[in-house]
């Protein structure tokens, strides 16, 4: 369970900026013999390269790896690193930050990033959602446990019920809102129609935002007016318009990928990415976008709650188990039993991966949230301060 002990990195912004800066300065000094590029130019270049490298690495994932829990976690890692580098750049150039037109660009960026906070919260809810599904699967495992003496009628009935609950819970998510409002508390007819029992009882975990909240709209808002800086803007900002645009694009892409992978309200993936190819990181990001879109278009995933590999596996496995359970004739033939046992062990494995992966993922999403807030707070402080005492 989530023991989110994350406290945020306790290193204050300033000292962190300092230490990184001095390291950087040392590097710069050693290279400065032919003093061509300024340290600032080097810094900005290094940032572009760092973003390209990280997303290049993510883009090199095999199709099995793409959108898996571990890949999502690497994606968030990449985001956190870029964000940190970006923060250092802002810190090092804090005297430029409050000057026009950079101040406007940065204010825009912070507005984008605040919008991402709601996505983070929605994703946290989504992770909790997946945990609830996991609970149903654990009941299936419990029912068809290999330590059970035999697999009898009772066990299958129990597993079937859990699978039905799971199916309803996942369905529930798809047409969230419609079925949920009704709550059937009537009793008595239960025995005749066990499976059509009031959906309200299986009501999945509610979201922490209102029903009208939409991930798709939120993504749209994050991407609103996100455009590559024009030449004169780049010059006027001392080149800083480029990292601001880069970070804005990375933010949008990462949030989009999270929404693609994890269940949340009104997942729409129609976000448009227009990134000029001359940014070195454009190729890997666009290729990832394309691959994820392809994944979303696949027939078996079109109605999916989330493209997360493990969700897909769970869905498939649950469907397979449900089919098996429906087709079962007792006593089991050896062949059938082996089939069931195999399905169970597969399910157990998925459960295990989820159990190990969801908590750290949730912590990481939370960390992304905190970092965005902190970076924004510092940025606002910078923007507010007109003349720098240093």
């Amino acid at each position: 369970m989530p023991a989110t002990d994350y406290q945020g990195s306790s290193v204050p912004f300033a000292s962190l900026g300092r230490s990184l800066l001095s390291i950087r300065r040392d590097q710069v000094h050693s290279m400065e013999s032919n003093h061509d590029p300024t340290s600032q130019e080097l810094e900005l270049e290094a940032f572009q390269k760092q973003v390209s490298d990280r997303f290049g690495d993510l883009a090199s994932a095999s199709s099995d790896d793409l959108l898996s829990l571990s890949w999502i976690r690497r994606l968030l890692d990449a985001f956190l690193c870029c964000q940190e580098e970006f923060r250092v750049i802002l810190f090092n150039n804090r005297n430029l930050v409050s000057r026009s037109p950079l101040d406007r660009l940065i204010t825009d960026f912070f507005e984008r990033s605040v919008k991402a906070l709601d996505v983070c919260n929605a994703i946290r809810d989504g992770i909790e959602q997946v945990r609830q599904w996991q609970k149903h699967m654990e009941i299936v495992l419990c029912a068809l446990d290999s330590r059970q003496r035999t697999l009898g009628e009772g066990q299958f009935r129990r597993a079937k019920k859990a699978l039905t609950d799971l199916a309803i819970a996942m369905l529930d998510e798809k047409d969230s809102g419609s079925v949920l409002a009704q709550r059937n508390r009537s009793f008595g007819r239960n025995n005749t129609s066990k499976d059509s029992r009031s959906v309200g009882h299986f009501r999945s975990l509610s979201w922490s935002v209102s029903r009208s909240w939409s991930a798709a709209k939120q993504l749209q808002a994050i991407g609103n007016n996100l455009a590559a800086p024009r030449g004169n803007e780049v010059v006027a900002t001392g080149g800083l318009a480029v990292p601001v645009f880069t970070m804005g694009s990375i933010l949008l892409f990462v949030m989009w990928a999270l929404v693609a992978a994890i269940p949340c309200q009104d997942r729409g993936l129609q976000t448009h990415f227009s990134i000029s190819r001359h940014f070195t990181w454009a190729a890997p990001v666009l290729s990832l976008h394309e691959r994820i879109m392809d994944e979303a278009k696949k027939r078996d995933r079109r109605n999916s709650n989330g493209l997360l590999k493990e969700i897909n596996q769970m869905e498939k496995c649950a469907r397979h188990m449900a089919e098996l359970a429906d087709a079962v004739h007792l006593p089991l033939t050896e062949e059938r039993e082996a089939e069931v046992r195999l399905g169970v062990s597969e399910l157990a494995q998925i459960c295990e991966t989820m159990k190990d992966g969801l908590d750290p993922l949730e912590r990481q999403v939370r960390e992304v949230f905190h970092r965005i807030v902190r970076s924004r707070t510092e940025g606002l402080d910078c923007l507010g301060r007109p003349n720098n005492p240093e």
Binding site: Y6, E153, S208, V209, S210, G384, P386
Partner: protein, 641 residues
């Protein structure tokens, strides 16, 4: 006697069943007929128990037999249309049967290797599963039914607070008769003065029933199902309670887009809701959970977390959204409320979320509380920026009080109403590089609190902004008046408030001295010039030359004095005491010089003859004219000669 005949009757019934029933099913049917004929007298268990006893329980036969009987007893309930727990006798019997089934399975489990036993155990498992499904339904029904009746009761009495009418009456109704400060259209909880109440969210009887069911479900390996049903039902209940306290589910963006006045109302509702949640609802849920899952601690802790998680996150998210929101200075006071509310609830967070499943909620609460502190510091930074950027465009007419002085001073005074909280907020602040605090070694050297340093800094910003504004006046005397007025106001506002003790005696002394210095500057740049005209050097001149000089001086004095009175007639000195002081010192200076001059004038014989012609102002005139000043033009047209 009665018992005896009852026994006999049962014995006869059993005999009939046995002799007539050639097969088991027939016996069974006959027993069924008996029990339907008179269920009280010929209940199945009474009849069958004895029959089991009659037989020799050997081998599977006995197992077979008891299973059969259990099947009958359990199936009857599994198929029942009515809620089993509607009747305590039924529920007791159902629970007994399940217990027997569980112990039968346990007793025979070691012989599962033997085929016939295994077959029996399969049937037992099947039966157990059916019983568990039914238990699950009953469990859910019990929770929902009682929670429902509960809400209904409250709704009926118009009492917004969940559970205040709880069956046990833990909650005296007088408490709710406090004044109803909210005539809102949104249902709001009545003000609760004493939060130290834990309510029984469900009637005690129901809690016991739930516990009995939970025990069996956990024993049968259905703990997950039980805990799942429990938490989803209670979660719904909690969410409903919170929404009935008027709290909406808002995204961060929605909070940020909300007009401030609406957000203020929402914060007020939140404050009530979070108090009710942390002090009443969560502890009550915890107690309920502990009771229902008494002795089943693993299920208990996890279930409790699942119940509270969503609501706790909703409450914390709102505070977080407020903390991340606008830093407009006028928001300070409400954000202070949110900060204080969370701070005061920290012990509750610690206590109610003490187990490791809930640890993340504790951490979240602390993080968000700290972030509110950050927001408050951010607001002060914003205030600094506002002061710094306030343009020095239009001068206040007459050198009076500038609105920014009023605004900042009243703001700071009001802020100091929450001095202790602010001390705490600024104490936590780690000064960062580039912060102003590091730039002024004098400030750092002082032993004053971070809040005092903060306040002193804002005062400094205000002063330097006012100095900039004073330069807008072309007349340096008016600049001095402006600075004097504003500094005087600042000192007064500091003196009689918490700000005084924050900034210290030294500060007040220094600034009172500043006011005096401005006063001196004013005198020098205004009356000083007039007086200078009257100055005479002691070198003796020829009488005729002296007479001419004196006449000229008098003329120029008259002119300058008129001029001065005219210019200054629209000037303002806001503070009455200061006004008196200024008039006194002005009249004092001018009059003594004037008298002096007049004396000299009278000593020149030639002049004396035409004195009346040249002396346009009597000493009294001068005094009166000066005493008309500094009213901001009120006296201009009125009492002029």
């Amino acid at each position: 006697m009665a018992d005896n005949s009852e026994e006999k009757l049962l014995a006869v019934a059993r005999h009939i069943a046995k002799t007539l029933g050639r097969t088991e099913t027939m016996t069974d049917d006959i027993l069924q007929i008996f029990s339907t004929f008179d269920n009280h007298r010929f209940s199945r268990e009474k009849l069958s128990e004895k029959m089991d006893g009659d037989d020799d329980p050997r081998g599977y036969a006995a197992l077979e037999h008891s299973l059969k009987s259990l099947d009958r007893r359990i199936s009857r309930y599994v198929a029942a249309d009515q809620a089993i727990w509607a009747d305590s006798a039924d529920s007791a019997e159902f629970i007994d049967a399940i217990d027997e089934l569980l112990s039968t399975v346990r007793d025979w489990n070691h012989m599962a290797a033997e085929k016939p036993v295994a077959a029996c155990l399969d049937r037992a498992d099947d039966l157990l599963q059916q019983a568990m499904f039914r238990l699950e339904d009953e469990f859910r029904l019990l929770i929902e039914r009682s929670a429902e009746s509960f809400n209904l009761q409250n709704r009926f009495s118009g009492d917004g607070l969940e559970g205040s009418g709880a069956g046990n009456g833990n909650f005296s109704s007088d408490e709710d008769e406090d004044e109803d400060e909210n005539g809102d259209r949104i249902p709001v909880a009545h003000p609760v003065t004493d939060f130290d109440i834990v309510i029984d969210a469900l009637p005690l009887g129901t809690i016991n029933d739930l516990h009995e069911i939970a025990k069996r479900m956990v024993a049968a390996g259905f703990g997950k199902e039980c805990s799942h049903v429990y938490s989803s039902c209670r979660r719904d209940f909690l969410e409903e309670s919170i929404s009935r306290l008027g709290l909406q589910k808002l995204s961060i963006e929605e909070v940020h887009k909300m007009p401030w006045s609406e957000l203020e109302d929402e914060i007020e509702r939140w404050t009530k809701a979070v108090n009710v949640a942390l002090r009443i609802l969560f502890p009550s849920e915890q107690r309920l959970c502990d009771r229902v899952f008494f002795g089943l601690s693993a299920a208990s802790d996890l279930s409790f977390m699942e119940v509270c998680r969503g609501t706790a996150i909703q409450l914390l998210n709102f505070a977080d959204a407020v903390a991340i929101g606008s830093r407009a200075p006028e928001r300070l006071f409400k954000i202070l409320d949110v900060f204080e509310t969370l701070r005061d609830l920290m012990p509750e967070f610690e206590e109610v979320f003490s187990d490791h499943y809930c640890a993340f909620l504790r951490t979240e609460a602390v993080t968000i509380w700290k972030r509110l502190g950050e927001a408050i510091r951010g607001i002060f930074m914003e205030l600094e920026n506002l002061i710094r950027r306030d343009p020095a465009k239009a001068a206040v007419p007459g050198g009076g009080l500038h609105p920014i002085t009023r605004y900042v001073m009243n703001y700071l005074r009001a802020a100091c109403g929450a001095r202790q909280t602010l001390e705490q907020v600024f104490e936590d602040n780690i000064p960062s590089v580039g912060d102003y605090r590091t730039s002024d070694p004098n400030d750092r050297a002082s032993s004053s609190s971070p809040l005092a340093v903060q306040m002193a800094w804002i005062m400094e910003l205000l002063e330097s902004n006012l100095e900039g504004k004073s330069r807008v006046y072309r007349d340096s005397a008016l600049s001095a008046i402006f600075l004097m007025n504003n500094t005087r106001y600042i000192v007064q506002k500091v003196k009689d408030s918490e700000l005084g003790s924050l900034l210290g005696e030294d500060w007040i002394r220094k600034h009172s001295a500043k006011v005096r210095q401005y006063h001196v500057n004013y005198q020098r740049n205004s009356w000083g010039k007039v007086i200078a005209v009257l100055k005479l050097d002691n070198s003796s001149l020829a009488p005729s030359a002296a007479s001419k000089l004196l006449k000229e001086k008098l003329k120029s004095f008259n002119m300058q004095f008129e001029e001065m009175c005219k210019t200054q007639s629209t000037w303002v000195v806001v503070d009455e005491q200061l006004r008196t002081e200024m008039r006194l010192s002005a009249t004092g200076n001018v009059l003594s010089a004037y008298r002096n001059f007049l004396g000299r004038l009278h000593n020149v014989p030639e002049v004396e003859r035409h004195t009346e012609k040249h002396i346009r102002h009597s000493v009294e005139d001068i005094e009166a004219r000066i005493n008309e000043l500094f009213q901001g033009g009120i006296g201009f047209t009125g009492s002029r000669k």
